[in-house]
């Protein structure tokens, strides 16, 4: 077994996942007319949605503040770096991958950007209801579009992490932190190579 994710990385992942699904569930009730009419106590759902958002943001700040920031910074550097192999991989040509494959990098970049945009658009949805000067033209549209695209991304993410036989071993890395060495050699050979060099 080799270690893939430390405690800070895993905490960040699960805090974000918990917040996302709490806000998705309550958000869909607020958004889909059929569900809106079904669920009687709309303002409770709305408050839970807003409370989840605040709790989510605070928890992320806490994880970053108290966790292994150097490690997170190194992760982000790695994620932002889409090298020649990554670009080939994204174009469908097999190429050796590092600790994150190119798909995971793109997913992480999109997820991070969306988290910021969800927070901004959500904040202005809240504020615009209280003061119309902050009611912008596209706030709702952006929040909705983010939701639609995120549901697509998360569906793919869940399929690869839970169902697809070749990739689902990765889940162990995000729960217990470790993955099998032979699995890592097959899916992330450049990572093992780097580890050996260190």
């Amino acid at each position: 077994m080799i270690r893939r994710f430390g405690r800070t990385e895993r905490a960040l992942h699960w805090v974000h996942a918990t917040g996302f699904f709490a806000m998705l569930a309550t958000g869909l009730v607020l958004y889909l007319p059929a569900l809106s009419e079904l669920v009687a106590r709309r303002n409770v759902v709305k408050n839970v949605h807003i409370f989840s958002a605040v709790a989510w943001a605070l928890a992320i700040v806490l994880v970053v503040a108290l966790g292994d920031r150097r490690r997170l910074a190194a992760d982000w550097r790695e994620i932002e770096t889409l090298d020649r192999d990554d670009r080939s991989w994204l174009l469908g040509r097999p190429a050796p991958q590092g600790r994150f494959n190119a798909g995971q990098k793109v997913n992480a970049i999109v997820t991070a950007a969306f988290a910021i945009l969800f927070a901004i658009s959500g904040f202005f949805l809240w504020l615009g209801e209280r003061d119309h000067r902050y009611l912008f033209d596209g706030t709702g549209t952006v929040h909705d579009a983010l939701t639609l695209i995120s549901v697509g991304l998360v569906s793919g993410h869940l399929y690869l992490a839970l169902i697809h036989p070749q990739t689902r071993h990765a889940l162990r890395g995000m729960t217990l932190g470790e993955v099998r060495e032979d699995w890592a050699r097959e899916h992330h050979p450049k990572w093992l190579e780097e580890r050996r060099r260190l």
């Binding site: 607020l30 958004y31 889909l32 007319p33 059929a34 809106s36 009419e37 009687a40 106590r41 709309r42 303002n43 409770v44 550097r77 994620i79 932002e80 770096t81 889409l82 090298d83 020649r84 990554d86 670009r87 990098k105 793109v106 970049i109 999109v110 991070a112 950007a113 969306f114 910021i116 945009l117 901004i120 658009s121 202005f124 949805l125 615009g128 209801e129 209280r130 003061d131 119309h132 000067r133 009611l135 912008f136 033209d137 596209g138 706030t139 709702g140 549209t141 952006v142 909705d144 579009a145 983010l146 639609l148």
Partner: protein, 221 residues
């Protein structure tokens, strides 16, 4: 090093595009509707309704006990049952519905009664200038001037798309003022009050939203 700029550019580009989207025209929503497949659109309302309420739950009014009272600056206060309302001259129209938050629904088929007919029996006093619509969803209310309320496309709707209004859409009676943003179209109307001044602020107007909420010419849009 150059490898890293690609990921960084993608990240900043996404954030920038999203922030720009906040200020972009409402047609962006129409674009979104085109991207989403038709089958999904029946469930996911990209071009459809959202149900907004201000209270703890969606009001469920009983048709047997429902009453619409007409009062204020009128000659004779009148109370209508739902059957009374349905016996008034029927009017129908197809109009778009625009929400101030940016979504819209096109070609909604409304059936109901014109406000002039609703007010006929009570009779407005000459001093009356506005109509204040009071919702069963306390404390929601909003006001239209008489010229606004008596417009040819303004309705006290009882039906939507061929069926009685659903509870979420304001059953059994709601205002439809298609040329203004939806917050002027009060749902679950239980009282219409003729007023002699145009000073009442509706629920959202107390938060700074425009009284005359003309689509495309109010609230900064």
């Amino acid at each position: 090093m150059e490898d890293r700029t690609l990921g960084r550019t993608a990240f900043l580009g996404l954030v920038g595009a999203g922030v720009a989207g906040l200020f972009l025209g409402r047609d962006a929503l129409g674009l979104l509707g085109k991207v989403v497949p038709n089958g999904v659109e029946s469930i996911v309302p990209t071009g459809g309704w959202r149900i907004y309420t201000i209270g703890s739950s969606i009001p469920r009014l009983d048709p047997k006990t429902y009453r619409l009272t007409i009062g204020g600056a009128v000659e004779r206060p009148v109370t209508y049952t739902l059957a009374d309302l349905r016996s008034l001259p029927r009017a129908e129209q197809v109009s778009d519905f625009h929400c101030v938050t940016g979504w819209r629904v096109e070609d909604v088929h409304w059936g109901g009664v014109r406000l002039r007919d609703v007010l006929a029996e009570a009779g407005l006093r000459p001093s009356a200038k506005t109509l204040r619509f009071v919702s069963a969803e306390v404390p929601y209310d909003d006001t239209l001037t008489l010229p606004q309320a008596f417009g040819r496309d303004v309705l006290l709707a009882l039906d939507m798309d061929g069926e009685p209004l659903s509870h979420g859409h304001g059953y059994p009676a709601r205002v439809v003022m298609p040329r203004m943003y939806g917050y002027k179209s009060v749902k679950w109307v239980t009282r219409i009050e003729a007023r002699t001044t145009y000073t009442d602020l509706g629920y959202w107007e107390q938060n700074g939203y425009d009284k005359d909420a003309w689509i495309g010419a109010s609230n900064g849009f």
